[in-house]
Amino acid sequence: MSKNNFAVIGQPLPKIDAWAKVVGETKYADDLFLPRMAYGKLLRSAHAHARIRSIDTTRALALPGVYAVVTGADLPRVKFGILPVSQDEEALCNDKVRMVGDPIAAVAAVDEETAERACRLIDVDYEPLPALMSIFDSLAHPEVRIHDYGDGPNVHKNVALQFGDVESAFERADLVREDVFFFEGNNHLPMEQHAAVAQWGSDGKVTLWSSTQTPHYVHRLLAKTLDIPAAHVRVVATPVGGGFGGKTDPFAHEIVACQLSKLTGRPVKIALTREEVFYTHRGRHPVLMWIKTGFTKQGDITGCHLRTWLDGGAYGSYGVASTFYTGVINPVTYKIPVYKFEGARIFTNKPPCGPKRGHGTPQPRFALECQIDKAAEQLGLDPAALRRRIVAEPFTKTANHLTVTTIGLGECIDKVVEASGWRDKRARFGVTAKQPGPASPRKRGVGIACSAYLTGAGTAIYWNDMPHSGVITRADRSGGVAVLCGATDIGQGSDSVLAYVTAEILGIDPKDIHVHPADTSLTPVDLGSYSSRVTLMCGMAAIQAAERLRAAIFTAVAKKLEVRPASLVARDRSARPCTVCWRSRARTRRPSARGNSRAAASDRPPATPTRRVSSISASTSKPGRSISRRCGSPTTSAAPSTRSWSRGRWKARSTWASARP
């Protein structure tokens, strides 16, 4: 048992879904095969930028085995996008394609091969437009417009922030460096390609099973793009075979699968190929970065001015947030007293970029870390010692008003320097070290880089003051506990977190718990598996729900046992008075004779992210504290009632409780 007196939390337990995963039982979206199911395929643009003059589906429809062919004209004329400010995508393009891979039409057929063949029989008449393939192209050709919205020609979004006067900060510096860096972008590449199965029922309601990290947002956007009430849409996120941010947008294939199901009266599956995953990637933005930083002789940063240009690709996606993130997290790692940031996201005719692990922050970190190394070299300072000196202080505010609570980065650097043999390696491989022979092109180097990030997403994607996550926890008369939560397990273990938290508070084994995740018709809303927010927010909601359920169980048990609820503890699958816990076994397996007990709770965002951080530590330690208080101290308020029973009376009650039918 850990020092916090936790029975479950902190123990090295297998994940609750591990057994299904190692025997191949887990059903990912593409493992679903429904009776009468048709297979869908999307016809994707062969042009990077073109006007669509006409689409002729006659030949495709005539192919035997084809059930339906759809184009944009068959769908409500509604644009969508994950952010309310960037509703710029169409499930099937109507007038124009903006990238190779843009979906234009779709087929449902008896099998994938027939659907593919039918796609090749769809005739599209394109009028090619100049394709803008880089940040420079797009800015140099304002006469070619990829979208007709944004902060300028081909500029999706401009962001500017300033905290203090950087020019005077540079005047105070002993060394001012200006450097330009380019990060070329990359993709998430989850092992599982996106897949979705849609079933449009004869009652007019549609169910979509999809490999998505954000079933709630898919739910909202299906209602919008299919033009049906949200109440008629059910989205189930199947276990996701890796996401990393690449499955956080709603995608064309999800909308199209629903429409094809409506038209064919059959379930329709669309599974993307690996090639298609690269068209829908939403990967890490390529970013061009200009960074100017002032340093004192000792290595302190006097001020920093960062400009970023993001290659956003053809659509908005999360791009506004990505742009913001290239700037706002930068002053968290080190003390940067004065900070100025200007960012711009540029549209290009390439697949759109979006959120990927660390969302927008690794690119400028790479730039600043490289620049710090260059400055250390010029100032004759050890790069590790320089970093150690300027690490952000605990319980401070950054120049841009982010609150740093605890920060272990300094100690981390010390340990890395010690454990890596940094000084010795630097003497041998550092920039000033003499390495053998210019003849060999192979050299070895040693380097250090640091980063900091934030936990949780403080605001929802659409503005609302509702909870970010909800949990329903239900105990039935068989003793089973079900936890219902909108969270999606993408391999990060959110199902297990829900089970562990609930098991800890109810004093049961995680195995006793059925976790039902991510079904918008059954589970309370959770905003999605992104921004390291799930353990924090679902975990908090699960704690609250389990505590309320435990209170209901304690009330019922206490009434039967004629004890005070506060005298009970939940441990080893039973609720019992703590002072006699080694003698009694008042089973909680039937918490209510009349039926199910149910408790719901939700995690509301705090007013500021700062307070959130402090509230987590207080709340997560709460169950342990309350249990140990009840168990350990007979002089607390629970004591008088426990003292009032005779042992014999308690024993009798105990027998009665466990003998109940």
Binding site: K15, A18, A20, K21, V23, K27, P190, M191, P239, R274
Partner: protein, 161 residues
């Protein structure tokens, strides 16, 4: 053109009627209902679709069923015997070596082939054996640990027997 395909999968004689160009991966998943075998790229790059043919790991996305008729095919569904998990499955579950779990079946089968050939592999040998199986979640450390633990347990069991 559809052809009759007779396969021995997990010691069971199975038949399917499928187009001759359908891959072993597709026939296993779509015609025989063995969805434990996953598809990752269908280009032979990622190892996700690995199955064993006569004990050798092969990429089922690059194999035609007609090529493996009469040979012994093992998928992840065939690893547990008599309701008991294979030591590799046990170790993968215990050590958190399966995260999203999508690459897991392929890795388990590749590791099975390795341990059949080399009951006590070095870490380097495990790394080399699994070099063709990509995992995006774990960073591989837990996978390597799990293979080593399974090898140890299988060795102990054998020496007791």
């Amino acid at each position: 053109m559809r052809v009759r395909i007779a396969l021995t999968v997990n010691d069971e004689a199975r038949e399917a009627l499928a187009p001759v160009h359908k891959t072993l991966l597709e026939v296993l998943r779509e015609d025989l209902g063995l969805t434990g075998t996953k598809h990752g790229c269908e280009l032979g790059e990622c190892g996700t679709c690995t199955v064993l043919v006569d004990g050798e790991p092969v990429l089922s996305c690059l194999v035609l069923p007609v090529e493996v008729e009469g040979r012994r095919i093992t998928t992840v569904e065939g690893m547990a015997q008599g309701g008991r998990l294979h030591p590799l499955q046990q170790a993968f579950a215990e050590l958190g070596a399966a995260q999203c779990g999508y690459c897991t079946p392929g890795i388990l089968l590749t590791a099975t082939a390795l341990l059949a050939e080399r009951p006590s592999p070095t870490r380097q040998e495990v790394k080399e054996a699994l070099a063709g199986n990509l995992c995006r979640c774990t960073g591989y450390t837990k996978i390597l640990d799990a293979v080593e633990l399974a090898a140890l347990r299988m060795g102990n069991r054998e020496s007791r027997a």
